[in-house]
Symmetry: C2
Subunit: 206 residues, 2 copies
DNA sequence: GTCTATATAGTGATAGAC
DNA sequence: GTCTATCACTATATAGAC
């Protein structure tokens, strides 16, 4: 209902960019205002507090991240192909939101209140658990059917998660260390995606 | 030469604990002083600036991390067993310094000057590159000998790195989410170590 | 070496003019 | 809706007493 005015939108964009690269504490409302091309007071006019502004962005991002998990198993494929497809989609989404994993983890690790709130949300909202159970059932069935080797779903999930997000969390360092231009960076990311897929699928071989 | 007085040591310990859990910006010298049981001015007396204090801890930690990589290949084993052994040692070291990966990555990602300095150090100090080459040669030989399947050393390295540090970076969240007591946490970590080893060794199978 | 007191600067946030 | 001015607060850092 409260349609975004141009200025409000500019502030949101500036804040998002800054929070993503430097984190919450390292970003000041003055800096956000400067980047948005307005006065610092206006930031507080629209969002009252810095914390509010951050939450708005943070939650929106978390939602989009979650929505990505909701993608269901593509039909007409065997499990291995379907998993390959879904890992690829997940990886691509994170690639399109390169800085998101770091920001989320950074805030959840350094800020105990946010961590508390996040875990509370995961624990109370049945949607997340249901989604996990669905994946878990799928894995168990494939194991029983002998299509993949025995593995705990939590382990598999953590493997995929680790290999995906570490690529992007370390990217700012990697980029600088090897002086990657954007084309070289793109290639590097493609390679990591390949490698991740290979590793996980080999892991699952009976 | 400048032997640590008790107070100085207390300040160092307090600072280390706080920097590790909350990061640089979220930690104030006042808080460090409180935790160390002294006045805030004393922190500045010993280390002059907060940045100085941080660097001292940060560099010491990075050095110990690096020293861990220096461990040479245990003799009298074939490559696979030796790699398993070394991955285990690396994992155990990180476990003994659970919060280190997050702090290092956090500072290198959010603070571009520190990132610059870090990359400069890696690039100019021949020791690091030499260490990498050594590992690279080892891998190539094993590939040629047909003992392991073809893989790029950088990919293998990144796989091991990702699976190891993600375990510990996400630990504060995981711990809270599943209400792990210290025994359950220990078990979880043991499992992740097992899983990491399995995954990597399967990845290398011809 | 350790303290109190304080200088200086920056922060988030609000009041009020336009 | 957007600005200037300003408040209250906290931070780092230093000066100076003991």
């Amino acid at each position: 209902m409260n349609r975004n005015t141009p200025k409000e939108e500019l502030i949101l964009q500036a804040a998002e960019a800054l929070f993503l690269t430097k984190g919450y504490t390292n970003t000041s409302t003055t800096e956000i205002a400067r980047k948005a091309g307005c006065n610092q007071a206006l930031v507080h006019y629209y969002f009252r507090t810095k914390e509010n502004l951050f939450q708005q962005i943070f939650i929106k991002k978390l939602m989009s991240l979650f929505a990505e998990f909701m993608k269901t198993r593509p039909a007409g494929m065997d499990f291995t192909e379907s998993l390959r497809e879904r890992m690829g989609m997940y990886f691509d989404f994170i690639e399109a939101n390169k800085q998101l994993p770091f920001m989320v983890i950074n805030e959840l690790v350094t800020n105990s209140e946010r961590r508390q709130a996040f875990c509370e949300e995961l624990r109370t909202n049945p949607m997340y658990m249901q989604l996990y159970r669905q994946f878990d059932n799928e894995i168990r069935q494939e194991v029983v059917a002998g299509h993949i080797c025995p593995i705990d779903t939590a382990d598999l999930y953590m493997d995929i998660f680790s290999l995906t997000i570490c690529t992007f969390i370390t990217l700012p360092i990697y980029r600088l260390l090897f002086q990657l231009d954007s084309e070289a960076e793109r290639q590097y990311i493609r390679r990591r995606k390949e490698e991740l897929t290979t590793t996980i699928l080999k892991r699952l071989r009976p």
